[in-house]
Amino acid sequence: MSRPVGVVGSGPFGRALAKAVARAGHEVILWSRGAREAPASGIRVTSDLGTLAAAELSFVAVPSQHVSELASSLGAHLDGSHFLVHVNRGLVGDSLETLSHVLQRVTPCRRVGALAGPLVADALARGTPGGGVIGTRFPEVAEAVTASVASPSLRIYSTEDVTGVEVATAMVGILALASGYAQSQGMGPGALAVMASRGMAEAARLGTVMGAAEVTFFGLAGFGDLLAAMLGDDRPEIRLGRLLGEGKSLSEACAQTGTNIEGVDLARRIAARAARAGVQVPIAQAVAGVIGGELSVAQAVERLMTRRPTEEHR
């Protein structure tokens, strides 16, 4: 690809992604709000969004609550020929609007997608073997993403089910948090496995209501990503869950993990949205209850364990 690749946001993930793209042999334009040093050669740092017009493909790696505002400013420099791909775990507002939808709503760009799966900043930056999935309805966007980051140590799969990828990846954030919490309470592998399986099942229920395909939840964006988190790829959500489990307050725990974590407020919004749609999401509900301080851990566990058993696949 002769044109440079844009990365919007210079947090840990944005910088790691920029390095991965540079390693694959592309020129990178890394946008940062403040002045920053280039993390590696081949990466040009800028604070001028207009510079990104030169890139056909840009990755959006800013926290979800900033995506709308930033993308709107970025959109002023772009047109229908640009591709935007975000790497977030968030869903926006009470309606749980997906971020690919936000990108389409606030920018003139239509060719958008979401990059997800077991991709963590550290591994991306170092180039250790791994993989991910790009969700986009546009095959040309999938090709561009693959061309920009894939390498012999990074496999990128693709799917048309963008919504599935986005809902799955958001739910993984919540389940990772719950899993960290459960670990700190001394729960064993069996309990964690039940939580993970039933957690993905409720994610899939909610996802299908929002137009996603069930199968996506059992792929890289869903189970694959959750497995990596639970096997200990040093996910901030797991750390946050543990700290909460150890009795730290939410603000303390957030301060200590030091990164922005999407799952905290999201669990509450997911539980509310699911209730409106008549979909059962007991685990998300329990996480929301515990974080909100309405439930003790013991109560949450009891609630989950005393639910009436049903058929596994309905």
Binding site: A76, S81, P108, G278
Partner: protein, 565 residues
């Protein structure tokens, strides 16, 4: 081989019609017709000529589907066609590539000719004068004399046209418009054709089901006003390609078009939420193809809603919706549309209601879902101009890419669904039906839709309460209307709630065989839950937002029932 048993009736042409330069593209159609047909069949063959397998498969599939279809038909023509297809099936294996190509060319040509319409400016001029007279006369046979003298009065009272008409009048000169209306009744195309005329907008080409061509008078007008024929009985993929290619070529050449993206009439009465995107895709493709040829003419979609106080085929439609098998049956042969007495009863009833039908032309969007300015240029969400061409380009070069265009089409479908809701004009019958149905839901907790159908006339509500609920719901709708999320008929917007209730109850009695609701003194009875369901389904997307606290639970259930969560 004959695909078409009936020949269109055309007026003899004594001297060629010479259109004037300011005439819309359709006035030139007849001189371009042959050219268009051959372009369509050329593209169809080209699409299959790339590989030997594709060519043979297209022939095989078409022959197989056609023999299946024709076997169940009687008559000389069907037999003759059947002979052709059986012969083809036998010969395919022995044919050379060149013969296969020639055969496909012949079939494609026939299909394209079968589809292609006709436009006669004389018929257009005639229908401009005749249609309102005929409609008015049909509605009021006794007042025939007066109707012929002042034909527009009554129709104009019956039909209201609103929305972005001024803007569209400008845009027809610089852009190709594709009207995409909601669809509830077979009257829609007639009503819409007349509304375009009245709004000072040019006629459009549109695909009409072949079943509509069985009535010779309607057939005559349709043929000569640029309708092309869609035979839904033909299942062959090649035929669907013929329809799409035809639509694409027409849009490329600047013919304003119309199609119903719902694919068929909304059986449930609800605003379309799932669209058939095949033809919408041709708008995207046509735009891309023009760009590739250096033609920078905008293609714009005009979301349009047709809103009826009463729906001609209401009873049949909802019955079909509720019947599981009904959903699979595509063409209803025997419904109210084919019965003259039902037409007359319907029109008679509707005429008693001022503005019984409102056509709203929405704000047009480009094929990528962007709004446009008065000159048809695409606008970004920030209101800045954006090059529509950029959507079909990479690094400044336009290209054709069917999978990309499919993704755009899906996005466009989502935008249209949203626009349909926003451009819907709610009518008094729909809101009153909603209040009554909501009461029924409230009184029958835990019962499903089929259980509720059986509660005929079981649930009543005090008229006073109904009036009060309508008032509250209307106030909530006013605020939604201010936010641009829906529209209301002028009657619903400004008449006192008891007048709205009266009007709806009057409408409900008399036309449909069963009464939807009955006024029994101080009480109003939910007489026919099925019909109430049909009319109230239009309100479903707004149900939760217009419910007061005591009705919230029922409203939520209604919202979920509609599959809109």
């Amino acid at each position: 081989m004959r695909l078409l048993p009936t020949k269109p009736i055309r007026l003899p042409r004594l001297r060629p019609y010479v259109p004037s330069p300011e005439d819309p593209a359709i006035f030139w159609f007849n001189s371009e017709r042959d050219d268009i047909v051959s372009e369509v069949s050329r593209r169809m063959v080209e699409a299959h000529a790339s590989s030997r397998g594709a060519l043979e498969q297209a022939l095989n599939e078409t022959a197989f589907q056609e023999t299946q279809r024709l076997r169940s038909q009687r008559g000389e023509e069907a037999r003759e066609s059947l002979g052709f297809w059986y012969g083809l099936l036998r010969r395919i294996a022995r044919m050379t590539d060149e013969e296969k190509r020639e055969t496909l060319q012949r079939i494609a040509d026939r299909m394209a000719k079968d589809v292609a319409g006709n436009f006669d400016p004389r018929v257009y001029a005639l229908s401009e004068k005749v249609v309102p007279r005929l409609l008015t006369a049909a509605m009021n046979p006794k007042g025939l004399g007066r109707a012929v003298l002042q034909p527009h009065d009554r129709i104009d009272q019956l039909l209201e046209v609103e929305g972005h008409v001024e803007k569209l009048r400008r845009l027809v000169r610089v852009a190709t418009l594709v009207f995409v209306p909601t669809h509830l009744s077979n009257l829609d195309s007639v009503v819409l054709g007349y509304s375009l005329m009245r709004a000072g907008l040019p006629p459009v080409v549109y695909g009409a089901g072949k079943n509509l061509f069985t009535n010779p008078i309607i057939s005559f007008f349709m043929h000569n006003l640029g309708a092309y024929r869609v035979d839904r009985r033909i299942r062959a993929a090649l035929y669907k390609e013929a329809l799409k290619t035809y639509s694409c070529v027409m849009i490329e050449r600047g013919y304003h078009s119309l199609f119903f993206p719902g694919g068929t009439r909304s059986r449930s009465g609800a605003i379309e939420s799932k669209l058939k995107l095949g033809l919408a895709g041709t708008a995207v493709e046509a735009f891309a193809r023009n760009q590739l040829r250096g033609i920078d003419r905008p293609v714009l979609l005009v979301p349009t809603t047709i809103n009826y106080e009463l729906v001609l085929e209401g009873e049949t439609l909802i019955a079909e919706h509720l019947e599981e098998e009904g959903k699979a049956r595509y063409i209803i042969e025997d419904d109210e549309f084919s019965r003259l007495d039902r037409w007359l009863a319907f029109l008679q009833q509707l005429l008693g209601l001022k503005s019984g039908c409102i056509i709203r032309f929405g704000d047009p969007v480009d094929p990528f879902g962007n709004p446009v300015d008065d000159d048809g240029r695409s606008l970004s969400p920030r209101g800045e101009q954006v090059e529509a061409a950029s959507y079909v380009s990479r690094s400044g070069k336009p290209s054709l890419d069917p999978s990309r265009d499919m993704a755009y089409t899906r996005h466009l479908g989502e935008v249209l669904v949203d626009r349909f809701r926003r451009e819907t004009v709610l009518m008094s019958t729909q809101l009153v039906a909603h209040a009554l149905y909501r009461r029924l839901v409230r009184c029958t907790p835990g019962v499903d839709v089929f259980g509720r159908i059986r509660h005929r006339g079981d649930v009543s509500m005090p008229r006073r309460e109904l009036v009060q609920e309508i008032g509250a719901a209307r106030d909530a709708l006013l605020s939604l209307e201010r936010q641009g999320r829906v529209h209301m008929s002028s009657i619903l917007r400004s008449e006192p709630p008891d007048v709205i209730v009266d009007r709806a109850l009057r409408a409900f009695v008399g036309y449909h065989v069963r009464n939807a609701a009955l006024d029994v003194g101080a009480e109003v009875t939910a007489e026919d839950p099925t019909l109430l369901l049909f009319y109230q389904n239009r309100v479903v997307p707004f149900a939760e937002e217009i419910a007061d606290e005591p009705n919230m639970k029922a409203a939520r259930e209604i919202a979920r029932m509609g599959g809109l969560r």
